[in-house]
């Protein structure tokens, strides 16, 4: 994923932060991105691209989401997962249960919840020496 210069619109907000709908996305390093609210300096999230680090991550996008975000093709979808940082990477987790999906054609996004048991809200981010070995 390349740097995205446009403004991301989360019309219904990110769960718990419904007031904030406009975000920017900037790359931090190879794995992490910073999603920052344009409306408040206090609101921001570290996110990652799950397909870079998980071999098999499957999400099903409902017809409701497709309709709301006006998604016509799977190639238009960017998936990001919110990271809960600990003191270090070993104590950090990633929320695989509630990814952010973004239509890169119109920059509209929303947070969905996957009703499957295999994906955790607090999935350990780091187990081995390399972050990419973890999943």
């Amino acid at each position: 994923m390349n740097e995205i210069n446009n403004i991301l619109n989360f019309e219904s907000g990110i769960l718990g932060f419904e007031k904030y709908t406009k975000y920017t996305l900037k790359s931090i390093n190879d794995y992490f991105y910073m999603l920052s609210s344009l409306e408040s300096d206090d609101i921001g999230f570290v996110v990652l691209d799950p397909f870079k680090i998980i071999n098999e991550y499957q999400i099903e996008i409902s017809s409701g989401s497709k309709e709301r975000l006006n998604i016509n093709s799977p190639e238009d979808i960017l998936v990001l997962n919110i990271v809960t940082l600990g003191e270090n990477l070993e104590s950090s987790t990633v929320n695989l249960k509630a990814p952010l999906i973004i239509n890169i054609k119109n920059m509209n996004g929303e947070q969905i919840i996957i009703d499957k048991n295999e994906y955790e809200i607090k999935q350990k981010l780091f187990r081995g020496d390399n972050i990419a070995d973890n999943f």
């Binding site: 931090i28 609101i43 570290v46 409701g64 809960t84 600990g86």
Partner: protein
């Protein structure tokens, strides 16, 4: 809040296109069936609440702290 009592096999209609049926009743578990249009999101509330909580914990706006944690 509207409160209605229903028996097994009975239903509730919400609007034109949502139907909630009581399928099975055990001691403290009710099995319900929901018929709704595909674009309606149906979630177990506790999962929704947990995601909200986790988002709050994940809140991070300080790039210096971020850089320290992900080093």
């Amino acid at each position: 809040m509207l409160i209605i009592s229903r028996k097994k096999g009975e239903s509730i209609l919400i609007g034109d296109d949502i139907e909630i049926s009581i399928m099975k009743i055990d001691d403290n578990t009710v099995k319900i069936g929901i018929n709704a249009p595909q674009q309606v999101t149906i979630l177990r509330k506790e999962i929704y609440e947990k995601v909200k909580e986790e988002n709050k914990k994940a809140l991070q706006n300080n790039i210096y702290t971020v850089n320290k944690s992900i080093k």
